[in-house]
């Protein structure tokens, strides 16, 4: 892989979710935003190897996708013969605060990313739909990858994503932040969604692999991103700690020679990812009281 290709895939990993959140918050059109961002990455893959990687890759991608959205909006407007109306809307949006200047700045984007996560994990969507949608929109995994992770057909996953997006639009789910009194329960729902995806990664699958560490890894990422932007809660902290502790043992769970499952007492502890489990030990020490941890534990079992 060349440096430019590497830069494109790194930008995808690091910026997809936040750029999508920014575009949705600006244009309030999930479908348009997603298509435009996909197009922008496609252009990046074509252009960066020739022109070099821009100084601010996220900014380049944002500008390119905004142009795509505006192109599409104009095309729709022409089709509907309502161009002046759309231009006015765009002008209003510009006047009432456009996107933040620097998409690389995490703190200014925290709200938009959290909004996107909460939208995907809205309680009016099933947990299964939420997990697929969150992996697609927040993490930016392509549909075939999600299908592979959930041992499902591409068409089935694509249909699930489409149905969920249609429900978001037709039911009028807001791209907004709930009040402080409801935020905690909504974030806890994200933890449920992430845990479903995580568990799906450890369900035995046909084939030589006993479990799919990649899916579990994406679930860990989803919850990590959420914790970054929403802050922790007893449930989120404890669950992320649990997931990290379990996930750090992934390489030791299967015997490389026989392919058999290796139980915890027999695992080669040198193959655990010790670097990944340093933080939760620290959180465990930080947890305010034992009672709160136990309460968080109860909600896993429900």
């Amino acid at each position: 892989m060349t440096g430019e290709q590497d830069a494109v895939s790194r930008a995808w990993r690091e910026h997809w979710g936040r750029l999508l959140a920014l575009l949705v918050s600006r244009y309030r059109r999930l479908d348009l935003a997603e298509d435009a961002l996909g197009d922008a990455f496609e252009r990046a893959a074509a252009r960066w190897p020739a022109d070099g990687v821009p100084d601010n890759p996220a900014g380049w991608l944002l500008t390119t996708s905004r142009r795509r959205v505006l192109d599409r909006l104009r095309a729709e407007a022409v089709a509907a013969r309502k161009e002046p109306l759309i231009v006015t809307d765009a002008a209003i949006a510009e006047a009432t605060g456009g996107p933040r200047a620097d998409p690389g700045d995490d703190s200014s984007l925290a709200d938009e990313r959290l909004r996107l996560v909460l939208l995907c994990c809205h309680p009016a969507l099933s947990v299964e739909s939420s997990s697929v949608l969150a992996l697609r929109l927040v993490i930016g995994l392509p549909v075939p990858d999600i299908a592979r992770l959930f041992l499902s057909q591409d068409a089935a996953v694509a249909a699930r994503v489409t149905r969920a997006k249609r429900k978001i639009a037709s039911a009028g789910m807001p791209f907004g932040l709930p009040g402080p009194d409801r935020l905690a329960e909504r974030v806890d729902r994200v933890a449920d969604v992430a845990y479903l995806a995580f568990t799906a990664g450890y369900v035995p699958a046909p084939g030589p692999e006993l479990f799919r560490a990649a899916l579990a890894g994406e679930a860990v990422r989803l919850l990590t991103v959420t914790r970054e932007v929403a802050g922790g809660s007893p449930l989120v902290d404890a669950q992320l700690a649990l997931m990290l502790l379990q996930h750090a043992r992934r390489d030791a769970r299967q015997d490389p020679a026989s392919g058999e499952l290796v139980l915890l007492p027999d695992q080669d502890r040198s193959r655990w990812h010790h670097d990944e489990i340093a933080p939760p030990r620290c959180w465990r020490r930080c947890c305010p009281t034992r009672r709160r941890v136990r309460r968080a534990g109860d909600s896993w079992r429900r």
Partner: protein
């Protein structure tokens, strides 16, 4: 957005209810109504007579007329007991408003669509 709020519940529960329990239910509806008028728009709503009083018209065969049958379409313990039509900013607002309705109801929130012909 306009939402139809459909309220389902066990019919016998209302019949069995004491005067005080009925008062609590009415207070919940009044609180809902007041909250809707504050943060959204009330477009209408009614309480419905018992499902047994309902008449169902089945689809007609080609060229024929509809058959009238007695009772509701589906046999179920929980029956549709009333509805509201509310214009609210979004689903979360609608859900928050519905939290005020009597707590034993099952509530369905259905968005309406504009049909342009």
């Amino acid at each position: 957005m306009k939402y139809l709020v459909l309220m389902y519940g066990e019919e016998s529960r209302w019949e069995r209810a004491t005067a005080q329990e009925r008062e609590t239910v009415m207070q919940a509806h009044n609180a809902f109504d007041a909250a809707v008028r504050e943060g959204a728009r009330m477009l209408g709503g009614e309480a419905l007579a018992e499902a047994a009083s309902s008449s169902t018209l089945r689809p007609a065969a080609a060229g024929g007329s509809r058959q009238v049958t007695d009772g509701p379409y589906a046999e179920a313990v929980e029956q549709l007991g009333g509805f509201y039509l509310v214009e609210a900013p979004d689903l979360d607002e609608m859900i928050a408003l519905c939290q005020r309705l009597p707590d034993y109801y099952t509530i369905e929130i259905r968005p309406t669509v504009n049909v342009d012909l």
